[in-house]
């Protein structure tokens, strides 16, 4: 209970990378020049996110977002923005499926080996599966991104 406190017991979900991205997201910016955008809304907990996407020929050039929510949802949005850059829509969709599986169950045995590298970068969020009510925090930005890729304005609630 002092500054010398070690926080090991709190780190299974809130790993340093999550705290860091939650505190200082790199991609938390509204893109002025974008191709598509969509919102996600979790009325149950008040989390809200908007995602903007700029394509670079047939891959995602850049993703920006604005979010109101917890550290998990902001870190997830930021890690997502980072991870999907330079990927095709199809790959991004596959990555979303894998990520969702990981967030729900902690692992993704059936995951495409080609996705090993990006999934590895999203792994810090896998701990969320032990907190079922927090899974949506992690997946909400992804739902918004997929909605944007599909040309929808809003993510349909799960």
């Amino acid at each position: 209970m002092t500054p010398s406190d070690n926080f090991d017991d709190l780190r299974d979900l809130y790993q340093e990378v999550i705290l860091d991205h939650g505190r200082r997201p790199r991609h938390a910016v509204r893109l002025e020049d974008f191709d598509t955008t969509a919102k996600g809304d979790n009325p149950m907990c008040g989390d809200r996110v908007q995602v903007w996407v700029k394509f670079d020929s047939d891959t995602i050039g850049r993703v920006g977002f604005e979010a109101r929510g917890c550290a998990i949802s902001i870190a997830s949005a930021d890690l997502m923005a980072e991870t999907v850059q330079h990927r095709t829509k199809a790959d991004t969709r596959k990555l979303f499926e894998s990520f969702r599986e990981m967030a729900r169950t902690g692992t993704c045995p059936a995951c495409d080996a080609a996705l090993d590298e990006p999934i590895e970068r999203l792994k810090p969020l896998a701990g969320v599966h032990e907190y079922p009510s927090r899974v949506k925090c992690a997946t909400l930005p992804w739902h918004a991104l997929i909605a944007a890729l599909n040309g929808a304005k809003e993510a349909s609630s799960e």
Partner: protein, 414 residues
């Protein structure tokens, strides 16, 4: 953790032994359960009463001519007597069993709202209602042409009595449906004054007592109100049962809410006639086991006594306000003079969901979110708060654990 508010009558450690769940470990830590306002834990007496009924005498009630049915009918109807005594109702037939508070309020909106109120009349709610005391009135408004008025609350989280009084000026208000105690702020409304003003303008008053029933001795005759709704699971009873108390002469004027077995006097295809109150409002097989459990819960709290419970909770609340108030970055939402053992707060730089999860990681159960009170959140420009709430089994030590846990969370986030 052995703090006794009143050593002669209230021994929290003895009470804790009545609640089997309190010895659980959560994520490897001792459970510190501070979510009783959402739903309270169940004492052994409640568990045993339900088990005993299922093991020795269970049968459907009210029309059975056999031994088990008669014993179970008696046990279930004893819950009605217990609830009547608890609230000081003048007649046991004024106690209607429902599914929960929410159904009690929907029954009111349906049966009193559509059945007795006239188009163009208004219902008054307050700015600190639970959704269960907002949405039924919106449905009534939209279906039946009833106006919905909201009595504002002050920055301290108290009912603005002047503004409340002003709502009656045009004489259109037929019913006030208002929380007796806020599930977010802990504020207790000045019930007698609320009733007096309403009655002076010819309006009836229903209290949503879902929270208040746990923290105060409720005497509906002293309050002077017309209806009072509450829910069993918050008063240490089982889920699946709630209570609507109403004045008999009003209940008699109200049409039934749901139709079915047990609520009729006779049925032909052309026309059916209704049973007398309370049965008119209790369609189908009731929550029999839950009534039996609720009876045990009422007996349990009555044996402890509301004076002792209220004193214990007041001491806890004072301690909690003092300890949390001293933590840098913690902001308590609501500063009502008259309040019960429910405290909402925010922590700078941490979202309330993260706070709740990080407390949970330390074995401390609090709730976070809008607490089914979105308009109230908006009133304070918030999306969500964390909320700690206390029961008869809560100790000063647990509040210290919360404060220490919060300090860790704050440091973890900075």
């Amino acid at each position: 953790m052995n703090v006794m508010t009143n050593p002669t009558t209230f021994d929290v450690e003895r009470i804790r032994r009545d609640f089997p769940i309190l010895t659980q470990k959560i994520r490897g830590k001792d459970l510190v359960f501070l979510d009783s306002a959402a739903s309270a834990q169940k004492p052994r007496a409640v568990i045993d009463a339900m088990v005993h009924a299922m093991e020795t005498q269970y049968a459907n009630i009210h029309r059975g001519l056999h031994w088990m049915s008669e014993r179970t009918t008696e046990a279930y109807e004893a819950a009605r007597d217990a609830a009547a005594t608890l609230m000081n109702a003048s007649d046991r037939s004024e106690i209607i069993f429902t599914h929960n508070s929410t159904e009690a309020i929907n029954l009111m909106a349906h049966s009193y709202g559509r059945g007795v109120m006239k188009r163009g009349q208004a219902v008054v709610i307050s700015g600190m209602e639970h959704h269960s005391n907002i949405v039924p009135w919106q449905l009534l408004r939209d279906a039946h042409g009833i106006e919905l008025r909201v009595a504002p609350i002050t920055d301290a989280g108290e009912l603005d009595m002047e503004a409340y009084g002003a709502l009656f000026a045009d004489g259109k208000v037929g019913l006030v449906a208002i929380t007796h105690m806020s599930n977010v702020l802990g504020s207790v409304v000045p019930a007698e004054r609320v009733v007096k003003i309403a009655h002076a303008h010819g309006a009836k008053v229903m209290f949503d007592g879902s929270q208040a029933i746990v923290h105060r001795k409720i005497d509906v005759q002293a309050l002077g109100c017309d209806f009072y709704a509450w829910t069993g699971h918050k008063l240490y009873g089982p889920t699946g049962i709630g209570v609507l108390w109403g004045r008999r002469e009003l209940l008699e004027r109200m049409p039934p809410f749901m139709g079915g077995g047990d609520m009729i006097s006779s049925v032909t295809y052309e026309q059916s006639t209704w049973a007398a109150v309370p049965h008119k409002f209790e369609a189908g097989t009731p929550a029999i086991l839950e009534g039996i459990g609720l009876k045990a819960a009422i007996d349990y709290v009555q044996a402890i006594g509301f004076d002792a419970m209220t004193a214990h909770e007041a001491a806890l609340t004072e301690h909690a306000l003092a300890r949390l108030g001293k933590i840098d970055g913690v902001h308590i939402v609501g500063q009502a003079q008259d309040r019960g053992g429910v405290i909402s707060f925010t922590l700078d730089k941490a979202h309330s969901h993260d706070v709740a999860t990080l407390l949970d990681r330390q074995g401390i159960a609090v709730r976070a979110g809008h607490h089914c009170a979105e308009p109230l959140m908006r009133r304070f420009n918030l999306d969500s708060t964390a909320r700690a709430s206390f029961g008869i089994y809560t100790t000063h030590g647990e509040i210290d654990a919360l404060a220490d846990g919060l300090i860790r969370v704050r440091e973890f986030f900075t």
